[in-house]
């Protein structure tokens, strides 16, 4: 019989009852779940305001049982700045994809980080614009085929991928900036720990925190969900190395 005592894992309370609109196997759902688990573990559900982006995760606000606002494309870090500056004792996070954060919203993210805004950014890098149907993103790998780089991204005419964590970590306002992946259980656990540390950073007022998560897009990549995880392992990680790009000394002291 199932009793609370033999329960090992259940759907986090920080989630609403609504099933996500994500495609089967899309790791957006994993990232959502990790954020929900962390908010629940840190007892932050009732003091958190989320900022949803434009892109596949535009409906993120439907899934978290916290207050939420919905930003214009790319502007989530500016909107989060507005919320956090007037409610410094609340927890404010943005959840943004690579089109939102690294393309149209590059100005907002860089300056929020440079100002050391005490917010947490969950950045999903799946190397394409998912919601509009798989166009080239700033993070699309060289040679990678998308609907707007049909013969593969040609770096001569379409430029090179932007390594967001590497770039953001150069800014002095940043307390915590790491890249993790969602392609296997071990990395998912490491990703969760990073998300936890990022929110701990904010709660302790230690500056801007961002976790970049390598994620899949099975539908637009034209792969099964399982093959998509392999693609992350074999192609995404070599281009976007996992690691701790910046952890301030104060944050290194945090014990989780």
């Amino acid at each position: 019989m199932a009793t609370p005592n033999n329960l090992v894992y259940e759907r986090p309370e920080a989630f609403t009852d609504m099933p996500t609109h994500y495609c089967p196997g899309c790791t957006h759902g994993v990232a959502h779940r990790l954020v929900a688990e962390v908010l629940e573990e840190m007892d932050l559900i009732h003091k958190t305001i989320g900022v949803a982006p434009v892109g596949c995760s535009v409906f993120a606000y439907n899934y978290f049982d916290t207050d939420f606002v919905e930003a214009p494309h790319g502007r989530a870090p500016a909107m989060a700045t507005g919320v956090k500056r007037v409610l410094p004792d609340r927890v404010v996070f943005t959840y943004q994809g690579d089109g939102d954060l690294a393309s149209i919203g590059m100005g907002e993210i860089v300056h929020a980080a440079a100002r050391g805004e005490n917010i947490t950014v969950i950045f999903i890098n799946n190397a394409n614009f998912g919601m509009t149907g798989g166009q080239m993103a700033p993070t699309t790998l060289p040679g990678m085929k998308t609907t707007s780089s049909a013969s593969g991204r040609d770096v001569e005419t379409q430029g090179y991928p932007i390594k967001v964590s590497e770039m953001i970590s150069t800014l002095d306002g940043v307390g915590y900036c790491v890249r993790r992946s969602l392609h296997d259980p071990k990395n998912i656990r490491l990703a969760k720990k990073a998300i936890r540390t990022a929110f701990e950073t904010q709660v302790r007022g230690l500056g801007f925190s961002m976790v970049e998560l390598l994620s899949t897009c099975p539908t637009n990549w034209g792969m099964t969900p399982v093959d998509s995880l392999k693609f992350v392992d074999e192609h995404m990680i070599p281009a976007y190395p996992l690691g701790d790009y910046k952890i301030s000394d104060a944050i290194k002291q945090i014990k989780i």
């Binding site: 090992v8 894992y9 259940e10 759907r11 009852d17 994500y22 196997g25 957006h28 994993v30 296997d184």
Partner: protein, 81 residues
């Protein structure tokens, strides 16, 4: 003796993506081809004994569709996922 566990997969959330199936260390999961969810997916289920309640299926599940239980042997197990 290996721990004995079991899972419940929610028809509301499961989309039959198979990530849990490929991640299951005991290889006891498959899609239930005799059953469709209201959304029209074949949901994942355990098709034979051997589940240890390790919760790796729940760790990789993008839809938080899996609840995991483990038989209590000595003390209540609370495994952080």
């Amino acid at each position: 003796m290996a721990a004995k566990g079991w899972i419940e997969v929610s028809d509301t959330y499961c989309k039959g993506c198979e990530l849990c199936i490929s991640a299951c260390p005991q290889e006891v999961m498959e899609l239930d081809m005799s059953h469709l969810t209201p959304k029209g997916y074949h949901p994942a289920h355990t098709f034979k004994d051997g589940c240890t309640g390790c919760a790796i299926c729940a760790v990789v599940c993008p839809d938080a569709a899996i609840t995991v239980y483990r038989e209590i042997t000595k003390r209540p197990a609370t495994v952080a996922v």
